[in-house]
C-alpha cells in the first residue's frame, strides 16, 4: 500500500477517504504490528484526517443565477 499526501491545491475527498480506509484495514489485518510502519501510517492518517476535516468544515455556498440562453 502506498499513500500520497494530499496536494496543496485541495483534497479529493473520495480519494482521501479511500486511503484512510486502507490505513484502518492495514491496522485491522496486521495483528503482529510493525511499529515503524504503523507509526508511518499514523502520521499519514493524521495528515489525511486534517485535510479532510478542513474540507468538511462549514463553507458558505455560492449561489448565482444564470440568465437563459435564447432559444434558436
Amino acid at each position: 500500500m502506498t499513500l500520497k499526501r494530499p496536494t496543496e491545491k485541495g483534497t479529493n475527498l473520495n480519494e482521501t477517504l479511500k486511503k484512510l480506509k486502507q490505513i484502518v484495514n492495514w491496522f485491522e489485518e496486521n495483528e503482529d504490528l510493525d511499529v515503524e510502519k504503523g507509526l508511518e501510517y499514523v502520521k499519514e492518517g493524521a495528515i489525511l484526517i486534517k485535510a479532510s476535516k478542513e474540507r468538511l468544515s462549514e463553507i458558505e455556498n455560492e449561489f448565482k443565477e444564470i440568465k437563459k440562453e435564447i432559444q434558436k
Partner: protein
C-alpha cells in the same frame, strides 16, 4: 389640423402585425385541414370551433409542434397558444401557433400512457442507464421556478459544504413551461457541473404537461452529467422523473441527498481517526507490554544461566587444578623413573664393572671388522683412556 399619416400597404401590414403580436392568446378548437408539406420546416392546419364551426387558419413551425409533443390528427381537440398575423404576400390572416396542448384529463392520460409505453420500449427508463449521483457533488445546476416554496425549501436545507449552485429560473407549470425548461437545460448543458437538479412541487396531470414532454424527457436522458429530479406527484409519476438518474419527491429530499455524502464523510473521518489511533495505541502498548514481559523473563533466564555457568566454572576450575596436579605428579614420576633407567643403563656405569669402550677416530667399535691394521684406537676405561695401535 394634422393630415392623417399615409402608409404603404407593406408599412400598414407591418404596423398591424406589430399590434396583433400583442394579442397572444390560448384558443381552443378542433384540428382540421392539416398540410404537413414534407421537407419543409413549417405546416398549416385549421382549428374549428366545436359549437358554430368558426374556423381559423394556423401556421406553425414543425420544431414547435415537436416540442409540444402532440400527435396531430383531424378532429383532435387542442388548445393553441398563438398570436394573429397577416401574411403580406397574399394578405391572408392566420394564427401563428407557438405551442399546442391536448385538452381534457382523458386525452392527457392517454397521451401520457402512450408516451410512457413508447419510451419504455426504447429503454429510456432502464435501470442500466441510470448514472450514480456523485457522492460529493460540488457544482450543482439548478432548474426550478424562482417564486414559490420549492426553491426556499431547497436552499434552507442544503448544507454549507461550499456548493457552487448555478440557478436558472424557469416556468414549471403547464405547456408553457416546456420551452422555458428546454432553454434552461440548454443553458446549463455546457456548464461545468457535477449534477443537474430539476424541481417542482406536486400538481395535477395537466400541470405536469411539460414534465411529460418527449423532447424534454430526451434532453434529460442526454444531459452530460447525472440528473436528480425532485418533483412531487400524486398518481402518475412524471416521465422526466422516470428518465432522471435519481428521483425524490420533495426539495428537502433533494437537499438531503446532496448533503448525504458530505455528512457521511464527516462521521467516517472521525471514525477512521479514532480507529487508527486506538489501533496504533493499543498495538504500541501491546508491543511494549510484550517487550517488557519478554525482557523480564529473559532477565530471569539470564540470571539463572549466569548462575549455572558460574557454578560450572568453579567446578571446572576445581577439576582443572586436580587434573593439573595429577599430570604434574605423573610427569614427575615419569621423569624420576626415566632418570633411574637412564642412570642404570649409562655406559659409564658399565665401565666401572670392567667393561671398556673402544673408539676409532671418535666412533665406537662394535666389531673387529671395523678395525684395520695400524688404526689408532682409544680404549675408554672407568678411570681413563688408553691410546693404542692395532697390529
Amino acid at each position: 389640423m394634422n393630415t392623417p399619416e399615409i402608409f404603404s400597404v407593406s408599412q400598414y401590414l407591418d404596423k398591424v402585425n406589430f399590434v396583433l403580436k400583442g394579442e397572444r392568446a390560448k384558443i381552443i378548437g378542433e384540428i382540421s385541414a392539416i398540410q404537413m408539406y414534407d421537407g419543409r420546416s413549417y405546416l398549416y392546419f385549421s382549428i374549428r370551433d366545436k359549437k358554430d364551426q368558426s374556423i381559423a387558419r394556423c401556421f406553425m413551425w414543425k420544431n414547435d409542434l415537436k416540442i409540444s409533443g402532440v400527435e396531430l390528427r383531424d378532429g383532435l381537440e387542442v388548445i393553441v397558444t398563438a398570436y394573429p398575423s397577416v401574411y403580406k404576400p397574399n394578405g391572408g390572416f392566420s394564427l401563428q401557433v407557438e405551442m399546442m396542448e391536448m385538452v381534457g384529463e382523458g386525452a392527457l392520460q392517454l397521451a401520457y400512457e402512450e408516451l410512457k409505453k413508447k419510451l419504455t420500449l426504447k429503454g429510456l427508463f432502464d435501470e442500466s442507464r441510470k448514472r450514480e449521483i456523485p457522492k460529493f457533488p460540488h457544482k450543482i445546476g439548478l432548474i426550478t421556478s424562482k417564486s414559490g416554496a420549492v426553491i426556499n425549501d431547497f436552499l434552507s436545507n442544503i448544507g454549507k459544504f461550499g456548493f457552487e449552485i448555478s440557478f436558472v429560473d424557469s416556468k414549471v407549470e403547464g405547456q408553457d413551461a416546456i420551452k422555458d425548461l428546454l432553454s434552461a437545460i440548454k443553458t446549463l448543458k455546457n456548464k461545468n457541473l457535477d449534477v443537474l437538479v430539476i424541481m417542482r412541487g406536486g400538481g395535477s396531470l395537466e400541470s405536469f404537461l411539460a414534465f411529460n414532454n418527449e423532447t424534454l424527457v430526451r434532453e434529460v436522458a442526454d444531459f452530460p452529467v447525472p440528473v436528480l429530479t425532485g418533483i412531487g406527484h400524486d398518481k402518475d409519476i412524471p416521465l422526466i422523473s422516470l428518465v432522471s438518474d435519481k428521483n425524490v419527491s420533495t426539495p428537502t429530499a433533494v437537499s438531503n441527498l446532496l448533503n448525504s455524502g458530505w455528512k457521511e464523510a464527516i462521521s467516517d473521518v472521525s471514525l477512521y481517526g479514532e480507529k487508527i489511533f486506538s489501533y496504533f495505541q493499543s498495538s504500541i502498548f501491546d508491543t511494549f507490554r510484550l517487550a517488557e514481559d519478554t525482557l523480564l523473563r529473559e532477565v530471569d533466564s539470564i540470571g539463572s544461566r549466569i548462575k549455572i555457568i558460574s557454578e560450572g566454572l568453579s567446578y571446572d576450575k576445581k577439576n582443572l587444578i586436580v587434573g593439573f596436579e595429577n599430570i604434574q605428579n605423573s610427569v614427575s614420576e615419569f621423569l624420576r623413573e626415566s632418570g633411574k633407567t637412564i642412570e642404570l643403563s649409562s655406559p659409564e656405569r658399565q665401565l666401572a664393572h670392567g667393561y671398556s669402550i673402544i673408539k676409532n677416530q671418535g666412533k665406537i667399535i662394535k666389531s673387529v671388522k671395523n678395525v684395520k691394521r695400524g688404526d689408532e684406537l682409544d680404549i675408554m676405561l672407568s678411570d681413563g683412556i688408553i691410546h693404542s695401535k692395532s697390529i
